[in-house]
């Protein structure tokens, strides 16, 4: 049943139907609405049995989840941005211990400068942590992915991060069909841990491993992630038959059959991109879209196949490795290294800057006409950049760039769409 609700609410209700047994909460925007809602459900007795624990930091949130999961409980938490970085040591640890924790990452930029708005810097910072990372395009998918995430995590004994764009999805009110409890129960069996802390069968979890076995341990983790590439499509198909709609999977292609130019992206921006593509197609450009749902493990084969017939690929991404370039672009380049494809990286939407359909259409227009550089920063205000660079060149104590830029703009408010 479709209801007009906030994305966070949809995720919270869906997570609740997955019957998590331990939920940790530490406030950080923009994930707060999710854990607030779950907290209320637990307190009201609607979600039971469940321990809702208000911890003192994200580090504790992930740590409590580790303990709960190792003791056989289905564990869930949510975070964003700085919070993810603050818990990062435990994020790696959860993956290393093979604990099937599910975490929502309400994607947000990382400071400094501090910024609460959306981009994918946080998810990219955790891409090597050993977690499966799924990206939601819509609020419906964000909700559905959590059901899939628990199933996937527990089958593989790997933690899963469900990435949904902060504010853009978390705070957007739109129609969501929250998965039915009976369907969730049918799809998601109760948690049977691969290993568990049990006084009746004591084991030691978390040994120190030296050079003699560390490589093998890491390689085994890698194989398990690759197993996910096989399992995810199977689960997506089961999901479709259980819930009557498509969700999850590795990638999703849109208008790619005859496309010579294909845009690749993660998350909610795919909707805007599709609108832009529709516009360009109306003008006769053969453009298409590949949305990547499963970012880790990276579906190299699927991406390669989807882009096999394209002459030109534009990766639009909300993250940027300073001094290097686009992160997703590098993965796509790696997947298509043997094809004769012109690859363009477009960095967009950093720190919550709106990615407008107009700008995207302009990018597509440039691309189709061979004017697109290999790396482009969408809607970059070069005047400000030049002005700040000049200031730095002339003044030793030029001050912080962030504040200088705001001052030049004459505003203290960020522009969001």
């Amino acid at each position: 049943m479709l209801r007009q609700i906030e994305g966070s609410r949809g995720v919270a209700e869906t997570v609740a139907r997955c019957r998590p047994e331990v939920v940790c909460a530490y406030p950080i925007s923009p994930q707060t609405h999710i854990i607030e809602a779950i907290g209320e459900m637990v307190k009201a007795g609607q979600l039971s049995p469940c321990e809702f624990i208000n911890v003192e930091s994200e580090f504790a949130a992930m740590s409590v989840s580790i303990g709960a999961s190792a003791a056989g409980a289905r564990a869930y938490t949510a975070t964003a941005s700085q919070g993810l970085l603050f818990m990062m040591e435990a994020v790696y640890n959860a993956a290393g211990l093979g604990l099937p924790i599910v975490m929502t990452l309400a994607n947000r930029a990382i400071g400094a400068p501090i910024n609460i708005w959306n981009d994918h810097s946080d998810a990219m910072a955790a891409r090597d942590a050993g977690w499966i990372q799924l990206f939601a395009e819509t609020n419906q998918e964000a909700a559905d992915l959590h059901v899939l995430a628990f199933r996937l995590a527990e089958e593989l004994s790997l933690p899963v991060m469900v990435c949904m764009d902060g504010f853009i999805l978390t705070h957007a009110v739109e129609g969501i069909d929250v998965p039915d409890q009976r369907d969730v129960d049918a799809f998601l069996p109760s948690y049977e841990p691969r290993q568990v802390l049990d006084p009746a069968h004591p084991i030691s979890i978390g040994a120190m491993v030296g050079p003699e076995a560390f490589t093998e341990v890491r390689y085994l983790s890698h194989l398990r992630q690759l197993d996910a590439l096989d399992l995810i499509p199977v689960l997506a198909s089961q999901f479709a038959s259980t819930f009557g709609r498509e969700s999850g999977g590795l990638i999703h292609s849109y208008e790619t059959n005859d496309a010579t130019t294909i845009v690749v992206a993660l998350g909610s921006v795919l909707g805007t991109i599709k609108d832009a593509v529709d516009q360009r197609r109306a003008l006769g450009d053969r453009v298409g879209v590949v949305g990547i749902t499963t970012f880790r493990p990276f579906p190299f084969d699927e991406v390669r196949r989807a882009l096999a017939n394209a002459q030109r690929v534009i990766v639009i991404e909300k993250a940027f490795s300073v001094g290097y370039g686009g992160v997703l672009s590098a993965d796509v380049a790696s997947a298509t290294h043997d094809a004769t494809i012109s690859l363009h990286s477009v960095v967009a939407g950093l720190g919550g800057r709106a990615i407008t359909q107009h700008s995207l259409e302009a990018i597509l227009d440039d691309a189709v006409h061979g004017r697109l550089d290999s790396v482009t920063f969408l809607d970059l205000d070069l005047d400000i950049v030049e002005s700040e660079r000049a200031r730095i060149d002339t003044q030793r104590r030029s001050g912080p760039s962030a504040e200088n830029v705001l001052s030049d703009l004459g505003t203290v408010a960020s522009r969001i769409g």
Partner: protein
């Protein structure tokens, strides 16, 4: 001042102090004297010769195992105890045991306890353990959070007063003047700075949790009683055990227990217990002795006695001991309170 009342001590030759005693009822003997004791920490571990932490951990966990009928899960912070007990492919733990990170043992334990609660496994109890670094420094945030939420966890700090696993660096629990690799015995103020360090038991008490106690590996009966009592309570509890480190303290491997005993007998390490933030009992000093007897058998304090020595620094340390003695009322002015002439055949 208050006397520990939970120890009915009889005169059994060595009944009150030695590990065992054939003259005691089996039920009154220490857990460690039991030929079938659990040995939570098994042989084959890689602790140094004479390791106080290995000893303290087995003492505490065996007592907890008995108190819980074997229904125990332990969470371990990174540190010596973790490293020497579980180098792949050998674990020395015979209990259900989890190691996650250095600074998160209290939170991980919270998670385990939450899992037990949600699954209705209320008989399974949770212990978290860490060294002093994992407790007073890097683990302090998580520990304070665990205390404040009153999670059902007994947290045990094995205090050897420095970061031993990484090569003896200073921690927030390192005593004044002690030489460590980051507080070398050089310059006009050799060794660690003066100050009380983080008085973790008092900090724990300030959280108002149900039970806080200190103990040493030199008084097994007391230590076991405290663990047993702690396991009878629910909510957050804290036990701080002094465990000498022959490596880091520069004491002879055979003197581990002696050093711990002197720490208590000098007053430098007050042994007490507190419930709900109030001190309810202290272990009296049996044979008071000066801090020199304690300091002089440890190489980390050698600079206080070399050459013409540093009597000024020793005097300051003695003043700290005297302050503890006054604060906790550690002296039994009349006949030792724990001695009665009750005899049981």
């Amino acid at each position: 001042m208050i006397i520990m009342t939970r120890q009915p001590v009889h005169f059994y030759q060595v009944g009150s102090f030695a590990v065992g005693n054939r003259l005691l009822e089996v039920s009154d003997r220490t857990v460690q004297s039991d030929p079938q004791r659990f040995d939570s920490l098994d042989s084959g571990h890689r602790a140094c010769q004479g390791c106080g932490e290995a000893l303290g951990a087995r003492y505490a966990l065996d007592a907890a195992m008995r108190a819980t009928g074997g229904q125990l899960i332990a969470v371990n912070a990174t540190g010596c105890l973790e490293v020497f007990s579980t180098p792949y492919p050998e674990t020395s733990w015979r209990i259900a045991w989890l190691h996650s990170l250095f600074g998160n043992a209290p939170a991980v334990a919270t998670g385990v306890a939450a899992a037990m609660k949600v699954k209705g496994m209320n008989d399974v109890r949770v212990v978290a353990q860490a060294g002093d670094g994992g407790t007073v420094d890097i683990g302090f945030g998580c520990l304070s959070g665990m205390f404040e939420r009153n999670d059902d966890v007994l947290f045990i700090c094995y205090d050897n007063e420095a970061y031993m696993n990484t090569g003896v660096q200073r921690s927030g629990a390192t005593p004044p003047a002690a030489r460590t690799a980051t507080t070398e015995a050089v310059g006009p103020e050799p060794g660690n700075v003066f100050g009380q360090g983080k008085d973790m038991p008092r900090l724990a008490m300030a959280h108002g949790i149900s039970y806080v106690a200190t103990a040493t590996v030199a008084d097994l009966h007391d230590l076991e009683n405290k663990v047993e009592h702690a396991m009878q309570l629910h909510g957050a509890r804290y036990l701080h055990i002094l465990v000498p480190c022959p490596l880091g303290w520069g004491s002879a491997s055979c003197d581990t227990i002696k050093v711990a005993r002197l720490a208590q007998e000098t007053g430098l390490f007050p042994v007490f217990e507190a419930e709900n933030g109030v001190v309810t009992g202290v272990s009296k000093i049996r044979h008071r002795t000066s801090v020199e007897s304690y300091l002089s058998i440890q190489k980390r304090f050698r600079h206080l006695f070399a050459g013409s020595g540093r009597p000024d620094i020793v005097a300051r340390i003695q003043a700290m001991a005297d302050q503890n003695i006054a604060l906790y009322g550690l002296l039994a002015e009349d006949a030792p309170a724990e001695i009665t002439r009750e005899v049981s055949a």
